[in-house]
């Protein structure tokens, strides 16, 4: 009897283990690096990338700055994933959060700095949540695809920005290459720490703290348990006595609020204006951060930093004929590889035993059938 190798569904809800994720990232980055190398005729692009990231204190400072909104965007997407939804609208929520915060700053500018900062943060959370409200409601009550609705609202938010920065809030000396308002009061600037010659903003600390708080809440409160129950089949949620509708609604609102919060933090920390410079594909990169971190919220921090390095490296290549949008390519390749790794984790390679060797228990097919009509392949 010949032994045949076959695949068997092992765990339909599995995500790739850490080592597989690291291999995934390495492969994805290698593919991307090759494409970058092919795309540019300039010599020394790899050393430019080094200089723009780890190779200089300016580079390291940049990485920290870029990581700040990315970690928060990853957190926003990850919270959405916890209730089984895809929040592709973080960019829009980020801009609307920043808009709300800026509105507060322009209308209550006389308040003392710290108080204003707190008010702006609340406004940002609210702005993001409001911007997620419509997708949340339509998804929870009508099962309208949230990917489309959140994405459409990104474009609306971008046009909203263009309206305010060219209309009511138009600045006199507009910044080069971006749509911006004038600055918010200087008292709201977040503290910048110096570590040697590298500067780390308070914003980064806030982002990391937000991730830790979320991780603790989801692990130690019953809330997190119910959220996970609601993320699967609707019938399972109902069976456990959890309203999937409620979980989706609240989970998505929290996700949107965090998206809005990302906007305020990056405004207070770095940009100091309501501006198109607040985001550069941040929400989209947040998707891959959440996917790579998988079920671990704390994993968002290292993955966020990693993607910040990728973005910073890309920024270092603009003069070498590399598009700033090429970072999307890297994101896409990583997503593709991460998806494949998750699938790989769901199956077990089996070398077929000779007939008759199977224990009785193995007679039964797995208890599960994911949406995929999974069955041993022939």
């Amino acid at each position: 009897m010949t032994r045949r190798v076959s695949l068997r569904m092992h765990d339909p809800a599995a995500t790739a283990p850490l080592w597989m994720r690291i291999v995934t990232i390495a492969l994805g980055l290698a593919v991307s690096a090759i494409v970058v190398g092919l795309s540019s005729s300039s010599p020394g692009i790899y050393s430019s990338m080094w200089a723009a990231t780890f190779g200089s204190s300016l580079g390291l400072t940049q990485v920290g700055q870029l990581a700040t909104p990315l970690i928060l965007a990853g957190l926003a997407v990850a919270i959405g994933r916890r209730v089984g939804l895809w929040n592709v609208g973080v960019d829009g929520q980020l801009l609307m959060g920043a808009w709300a915060a800026t509105f507060v700053a322009f209308h209550a500018g006389g308040l003392p700095g710290p108080l204003l900062v707190v008010l702006m943060m609340f406004a940002g959370l609210l702005g993001g949540a409001v911007w997620a409200l419509l997708p949340a409601l339509t998804r929870a009550y009508l099962s309208v695809n949230e990917v489309i609705t959140t994405l459409m609202l990104n474009f609306v938010a971008a046009l909203w920005l263009s309206y305010w920065t060219t209309g009511p809030w138009a600045a006199n000396g507009a910044q080069l290459g971006s749509l911006s308002t004038r600055q918010v009061p200087a008292g709201t600037y977040l503290h910048q720490f110096s570590v040697g010659s590298v500067t780390i903003g308070l914003g980064l600390v806030i982002a990391v703290v937000a991730v830790v708080v979320a991780a603790i809440a989801l692990r130690w409160l019953r809330l997190g348990y119910y959220a996970t129950l609601a993320s699967g089949e609707e019938a399972t949620a109902r069976y456990a006595g959890v309203s999937q509708r409620g979980a989706q609604l609240w989970g998505f609102l929290v996700s949107g609020a965090i998206g809005g919060f990302a906007g305020v933090v990056v405004e207070l920390d770095q940009v100091h204006r309501y501006s198109s410079a607040l985001t550069s594909n941040t929400g989209y990169i947040g998707l891959i951060i959440a996917v790579l971190a998988a079920t671990s919220l704390l994993g968002l921090v290292p993955v966020g930093v990693l993607m910040a390095v990728v973005v910073a490296a890309g920024n270092g290549l603009r003069i070498a004929g590399i598009s700033s949008d090429l970072v999307l390519f890297v994101t896409g390749v990583l997503l593709l590889f991460a998806g494949a790794a998750d699938v790989a984790a769901r199956y077990r390679l089996r070398v077929g035993a000779p007939p008759g060797a199977a224990p009785v228990d193995a007679v039964e097919p797995p208890a599960t059938a994911s949406p995929v009509m999974e069955v041993p392949p022939s």
């Binding site: 045949r4 076959s6 068997r8 092992h10 765990d11 339909p12 809800a13 599995a14 692990r219 130690w220 409160l221 019953r222 809330l223 997190g224 348990y225 119910y226 996970t228 129950l229 993320s231 699967g232 089949e233 019938a235 399972t236 109902r238 069976y239 456990a240 006595g241 959890v242 309203s243 077990r348 089996r350 070398v351 077929g352 035993a353 000779p354 007939p355 008759g356 060797a357 199977a358 009785v360 228990d361 193995a362 007679v363 039964e364 097919p365 797995p366 208890a367 599960t368 059938a369 994911s370 041993p376 022939s378």
Partner: protein, 518 residues
Amino acid sequence: MSNPEHHPAGAAPTPLGGSEPALEMRGIVKRFGDYTALDRVDFELAQGEVHALLGENGAGKTTLMNVATGIIDADAGTIAVGGREARIRSPRDATRLGIGMVHQHFRLVRNFTVAENVHLGLGGVGRLVSRRELERRTAEWSERFGFDVDPSARVAELSVGQLQRVAIMRALVRGANILVLDEPTAVLTPQAASQLFSIIRGMVAEGRTVVFISHKLDEVIEIADRISVLRGGARIATLPKEECTTVSLARLMVGHEMKEVRPRPREHQGDPLLVAQGLRTGEADRRGALKDVDVAVLGGEILGVAGVSGNGQAELAQVLTGMLKPAAGTVRVGDRELGGAGARAFGKAGVGHVPEDLRIGLSLEQTIEMNAVMKVVEQPPVRRGPFLVRSAIRPYARELLERGGLAALEVTRRAGTLSGGQAQRLVIQRELRAGNRALVAVHPSRGLDVAATQAVHEALLDARSHGAGVLLVSEDLDELFELSDRIAVMYEGRIAATLERAAFDREQVGLLMGGGGR
């Protein structure tokens, strides 16, 4: 090989070649991973016979016929059709060779009409079809075969019996000489089954050959000319029906003799624990919707619920566990009124629920231990304020697994990695503990092997002897007769009758299930 279009559909096929077997399978091996579903099976089908394939769940009957019809590929073995070696790599090949299969779930496209389903996969690419033409041809065939179905009806709206006729017609239209029927009576009342038998006899009279897959002894002896018994993926015997009795077949099928249904006295006559009155659900015109159902499960009894699937049993179980809010009526657990409350309230009140579909009883995204505590997250020691006491979870889960004979399982594995039997045992143990008052179990042993079924039955009897009230919904009459103290028979959303154990009678129950009797 001839195209199905070339011989007029419905005309009696000419026998292929005198005494050659219609179908001959030699040394068929099929493995799924490291599980061997078919172990060197030989199978021979004579022209014009009704050949029954008998065996328990998982014996390999359907798998063998899936190989013959190209649904799956065998790992080894040869197939000959009409004496000629054949390679059957896809259902298309099988159709070309005149082999058609009617699957247990019919494999009909729910959102298509009868006519569309009959024509699916028939004919070449680009051939023009109009809805009217399809329906005209289908009506013609329907008449010729004596099946009474409306060609323009959407399949999702048909009854089970009609679905079956559509599926058979579809196979015949493709020129099937050999027709494989997979558990055709599993979802029929005894009366509807006898109608099917006359259809089968009619087909054989036209020269066709029929393979009849079943695990029911009586009907196999009634309809078959020859009977092959499969057990554990191997063919045990092939016998002409004259040499068979139910007892001898049972011995072959199970490997030992089946237990007789024995009388049993009522142990305790408890108080009513789960009581529902005047239940109605959903749109009244739907077949499965409940219409004024009253039911009371007493402590210390097993109340069986019989019925052909889709007559309201699923709805009843859902209402009694808070999964479905009734449109009217009341549900009481002990002396607490719970009508309209959700599943969590029912769980807290001590109602356990082994759901019809195992998948909904487990959260596949979470670990086994988190699934084990699903029904106690609101109670100490797992709950403390808004917090989840993680240190209390593991001991609880371990204890539960031990009771279910699953102590070897790693509790941090994800629930999705459990086998069907393991998952079933985990859910039952969890629900037995949560349901200290009442347990609603729907098809708790479906798809399990003999040993696992035994364990489930013992668990249900155990709950009963501890004074809980058990509502057992099952389509398996043997199971109901063995376990129940009373049986309620459901028909079209109503309880047609409730029988005491002393009055259990197979024929009577069969009639009630079909809307007759009394």
